[in-house]
Symmetry: none
Subunit: 196 residues, 4 copies
């Protein structure tokens, strides 16, 4: 149990370091050399905790998004109406990834051989879908009656993500707050019952 705990700690330390590495301006790709240097361990040590590099990357992505969801829940906890929740969902996303993380490079890492699509996207989508869906469903009464929300989570993630990407692409002079406000306006305008 102690050993396992130690294991888990080291694994997390490596994954955390790898995530931090993706936020650095001079990030230079997910090589084992880069990851081990960032984690302060030897390359060989990586293989004591992960079968191979692909496994490490898949677990890295899962680690980052488990983290994301956990912190998102805490972040949203104080808010009780959908309007506020959506705003802070956007806000949180920008804060979590907004600076410079290149974690999304992993999206196309293949996770299994065989027929059909099999990228790391497969991990992201169901998770993201379920969290946004559960938010929406627990506030159904605030949402307009006649609209479909089946694809809404994807609209949300796509839009936020593009704001992040834009920041990554264009550099420091992006008005993130304005973008969040505009996105929030679009979404709530569509989604929420008119208050009067």
């Amino acid at each position: 149990m102690a050993a396992r705990k130690k294991d888990e700690g080291m694994k997390e330390q490596i994954l955390e370091a790898a995530f931090e590495m993706t936020k650095r301006e001079d990030f230079d790709g997910f090589t084992t050399a880069n990851i081990s240097a960032a984690a302060g361990v030897s390359e060989g040590t990586l293989y004591n905790y992960f079968k191979d590099k692909k496994t490490l990357l898949v677990q890295l992505f899962q680690y980052v998004f488990d983290n994301y969801y956990k912190n998102l829940n805490d972040y949203l906890e104080p808010f009780d109406n959908l309007n506020d929740i959506l705003y802070h969902l956007f806000d949180f996303h920008i804060k979590f990834f907004g600076k410079t993380s290149k974690i999304f490079l992993l999206l196309f890492v293949p996770i299994e051989k065989g027929i059909g699509p099999h990228s790391i996207f497969r991990i992201l989508f169901p998770k993201y879908f379920s969290i946004v869906t559960s938010i929406l469903e627990s506030h159904r009464d605030e949402i307009k009656k006649d609209i479909s929300i089946e694809n809404f989570p994807f609209f949300i993630i796509g839009s936020i993500q593009m704001i992040v990407f834009r920041k990554l692409a264009l550099g420091g002079d992006v008005d993130l707050t304005g973008a969040i406000n505009e996105l929030h306006a679009i979404v709530t305008n569509y989604l929420l019952k008119k208050e009067n």
Copy 2:
């Protein structure tokens, strides 16, 4: 006088083959071996047309998006109101990339050394922004007076793109038409003057 006459189209042939390659289910990365095999030429030939692999990839991305914009213009030509135009913008995007292209893997390819962000995103954003902006501006009278559309192009690209990604991730059973319809509803609901 000319030797095997330099095929002016060879460069395009290589880029086209590389793009087609990204749509294949068994796509396995942008190696020079893969690209040359897809193009039916030797690896050495690649270097007769491109200084190095990075140059090829940047030009590939530009080629794909030049193609995208050109075809999009033709596709939208018959439509004269913003409602229809937006619908077919979404529609076109899905058709163009919708199946399986992994061209977006290139988004993070660095295009220059130096300070700040410098990925291939830099190429994509201004182009996409300008085309969507010009569409919106030439239909200003159909848009609600009081709303900001500064960030609108990014929401649009982000949303469409996420639908494409979802298809890539989850495979064949995605209701693309439904997604387009819903996205279209969100956007037009926010953007367009209520018709009465």
Copy 3:
């Protein structure tokens, strides 16, 4: 006869261009691309005049040194005493190669397979030896009686060559005239009968 003459002309044109190329500051090696570009012909054309690249290089070296010897003879013709002749031998050498020729890179090009040394040096040495030796022998009466001159040609070529190399290595601020004078003093001091 006309055809052969044309051949010879083209061959010489290529070799001359290749030699000129070695004097350029941005000289970048004896690639077939470089040589053909310098000569203003296609790469394929090289192979109409030379069996392969090695043959071209060997003939280039021979061409340069045949040229050297021929011009040297003309250059020395006006002088009739060994003192002057030696001075102008040095002078000529510096003028011929002195700026920036990297022709000496070819010295180690192998010219035959098999046992023993077989570099292009083999071509240079006998020629240089014979010309210096013949100069010395036709002025035997000016040379001290009791000294050996068997290795003298090598001393001369080595010393001059090093002056050239020094210029190549250290750049523009070398006092070539001073170096020639000093070398001349050493050589004549050793070699010539004291005049009184």
Copy 4:
């Protein structure tokens, strides 16, 4: 704690093997394949010790000449007059390179980009100049008063080197001792005060 302990001598082992390789009759160029085979390591290992091939070659040249100078000092230590020292300088040079080393092929390897000459010669010249100059200066009282010795080091290196090259070019039947004696006579005759 240490893995296969980093052999501090591995770098030197590779350089030494590369130098030895240049003395082999069947030496066939400085390819990474040749060098790694000579050193008994894999090609990949070369890149654990040298950034790239050019760096390896520059360091190889420096290694060889550092070795040369160190051993030369020991070799000359017993001798206290310039006459003897010069003789054994020649003698040593022949012994060190005299057989078959093709290390001098490296002389034109470029060491930096930019304007002006920049070959490996730049490394050789100052070193050789300083060692010969310091020998001459510490024996100034044995040298004739009125002669310039500014260029002397270059004549010495050039002459010795040409003897080495001649051996390389012409093979085994060269009278090295005779050549050394003659060179020694030339130099001392010019340089040293007449003893009487």
